[in-house]
């Protein structure tokens, strides 16, 4: 079983639309994992049934029991996150600022502070309209997206793929370069880098590829909006060549991306020409992954 991860460094490149198209093309052979948990959008295109919700916990949150607190202020003194404030002589923990380190609870002389484990989100295993299944999550507002949730989504998708004898897991990766994307990449067999022909596109591509290179994962690249700026596209191609990244396809700037999305469809279902380009990339990916 292979694992294919699609990442883009930054949002707005069309990554999710492209991943959903690959999911559509792969059909029943694939288990899909949406690891872009912070802004999970793929469900808008693949119509999952939000099946088997499971509460996900990670980290802790300090809570002060006002009946026990003697207002000594020790907790506020030690908190490095400025998460404890005083209102009308009462000490409160700001749940958005609290990192759950538990230091305050340890120093509180009155034992007024307890650490609670708030649910940070839910994980779902859903049936989707490609005839397969998708593992995805919903993160609560302000919850710590530490990468643990991403790891959980991936792990569940993998074991599901194994138990159902699927050929691959297709992962919509997290944006950025931090903890979540590192979790998205770990264990991947192939990375699809989606970029766009803009100065920020090439900038982010280079940065995120440093990470991919560290992991030593084979990579291919799809350049979206490739005709927007031919000069930049040439530069991207030069970078791909020099880095040994396979150029999978160049997709022209096209408003079908948005139109397809507005209709709740993947691009392959909506636009024949673009669909053919993406199908071509999918065949190449399969070959490179030997699936």
């Amino acid at each position: 079983m292979k694992e294919i991860v699609v990442i883009s460094g930054k949002g707005g490149t069309g990554k999710t639309s492209i991943t959903a198209s690959l999911a559509y093309l792969g059909g029943e052979d694939l288990i899909v994992a949406d690891c872009d948990v912070d802004a999970a959008d793929m469900h808008l295109l693949l119509s999952p049934d939000f099946g088997n919700p499971e509460e996900f916990y990670s980290g802790e949150l300090a809570v002060i029991n006002q009946d026990v607190c003697i207002q000594c202020g020790k907790c506020q003194e030690v908190c490095r996150f400025d998460a404890i404030s005083v209102v009308n002589n009462q000490y409160f923990v700001d749940s958005l600022g609290c990192e759950g380190c538990g230091y305050c609870a340890r120093v509180c002389p009155a034992e007024a502070i307890t650490n609670e484990r708030p649910g940070v989100g839910q994980v779902f295993v859903s049936n989707i309209r490609t005839g397969s299944a998708m593992v995805h999550a919903r993160l609560n507002i302000g919850a710590d997206n530490s990468g643990k949730l991403v790891a959980k989504v991936k792990k569940d998708a993998k074991s599901l793929a194994e138990s159902k004898n699927k050929t691959a897991v297709l992962v919509d990766g997290s944006p950025g370069l931090g903890c979540p994307v590192v979790s998205s990449l770990s264990g991947a067999n192939f990375v699809v880098l989606v970029t766009e022909s803009t100065v920020s596109g090439i900038h982010d591509l280079k940065r995120v590829y440093e990470l991919v290179e560290k992991f030593g994962i084979k990579a291919g690249c799809i350049i979206n909006k490739a005709d927007l700026n031919p000069g930049v596209t040439d530069k991207i191609k030069g970078f791909l060549d020099a880095s040994g990244i396979v150029l999978l396809s160049e997709i022209p700037y096209n408003e079908s991306f948005t139109k397809a999305m507005t209709n709740g469809k993947t691009i392959v279902e909506y636009d024949k020409e673009l669909g053919a380009i993406i199908s071509g990339s999918w065949e190449q990916i399969k070959e490179l992954c030997e699936i």
Partner: protein, 291 residues
């Protein structure tokens, strides 16, 4: 006055809006632009300014002092992030997992884990005419954005007076980094696009700013490309739509080359001027409220 430009996810035009708005305002008065998307700061690609100041940014992590340690194991017990572990006769510190709470260090009975500085990124400060531009960049592989965002905001507070207009280009998402970035903002501008993805992410962003109790308004980017779901939602929720930026290939091309939009695209100039008036209005109201 601090204005945070935020959105539920990447790619909706945060950087475009931040750079254009700040540059436009700076034509007439002093303005500060701060790129807080420390994982991938992109604003600098659009601002041509002179580098005035550069410094390394550090976070504090514990460093084990073997000679005084009694191997009591307290440090491992108090660390909630598994960043300090006792392994045989050694105390191991895992810097990537450390949140910098100081608990292990300050609760060590022998003072054997002093907090030492470790480089996590770089801050650069530029100036061009009335515009001060500050960006911070996390070292690749460094996983925690929040401490760097916090220190960047502290730097701005220490170096610039409060009565200037400060535009904060926030990181995407609804989790810790964006909360840190918008925490001190007097006004949040949410930028979105009129598509199902845009609407979905806007709803999450609205929930977040409401929870934080911030005044906010909405800017719709690429107007005309999708459907009227976003406008309808704003009407139902009585949200201010501050400005509309039309969908226009010329905008995409100008952006792709790394150029500012408002000097050549009248519709963008119109939009930023609307936003400036809106900011003025909120500013006046804030002044009245504090008198």
């Amino acid at each position: 006055m601090k204005i945070a430009i935020a959105s539920g996810k990447g790619g909706t035009g945060k950087t475009t809006l931040s750079t254009n708005l700040a540059s436009y305002i700076a034509e007439n008065r002093e303005c500060i632009l701060v790129d807080l998307d420390v994982e991938e700061p992109n604003s600098g690609l659009f601002i041509k300014a002179e580098l005035l100041h550069e410094e390394d940014m550090f976070k504090k992590i514990p460093e084990w002092n073997e000679s005084t340690c009694e191997l009591c194991g307290n440090c491992q017990t108090v660390c909630s992030f598994n960043a300090v572990m006792k392994m045989g006769k050694m105390i191991m510190v895992f810097p990537e997992m450390c949140h910098g709470c100081f608990a292990c260090s300050e609760l060590c009975p022998t003072g054997s884990l002093p907090m030492k500085s470790k480089k996590m990124g770089e801050l650069k400060s530029y100036k061009s005419g009335n515009l001060n531009f500050i960006e911070s960049r996390l070292i690749i592989g460094e996983e925690q954005a929040v401490p760097l965002i916090k220190q960047t905001l502290d730097y701005v507070d220490a170096n610039f007076s409060e009565d200037r207009i400060t535009i904060l280009d926030s990181p995407p998402g609804t989790s810790c980094p964006v909360i840190e970035a918008t925490r001190d903002a007097d006004l949040v501008i949410l930028i979105t696009e009129p598509t199902p993805f845009g609407l979905h992410d806007l709803k999450l962003a609205v929930e977040t700013v409401r929870q934080m109790g911030k005044p906010f308004g909405v800017v719709i980017n690429r107007n005309g490309i999708g459907n009227d779901g976003v406008e309808q939602y704003c009407r139902e929720e009585s949200l201010d739509i501050i400005a509309l930026i039309p969908n226009d290939r010329l905008i995409a091309e100008t952006y792709s080359a790394g150029n500012l939009l408002y000097p050549t695209v009248p519709s963008v100039k119109n939009a930023v001027s609307h936003i400036e008036s809106y900011i003025e209005k909120i500013n006046e109201k804030m002044k009245r409220d504090t008198v």
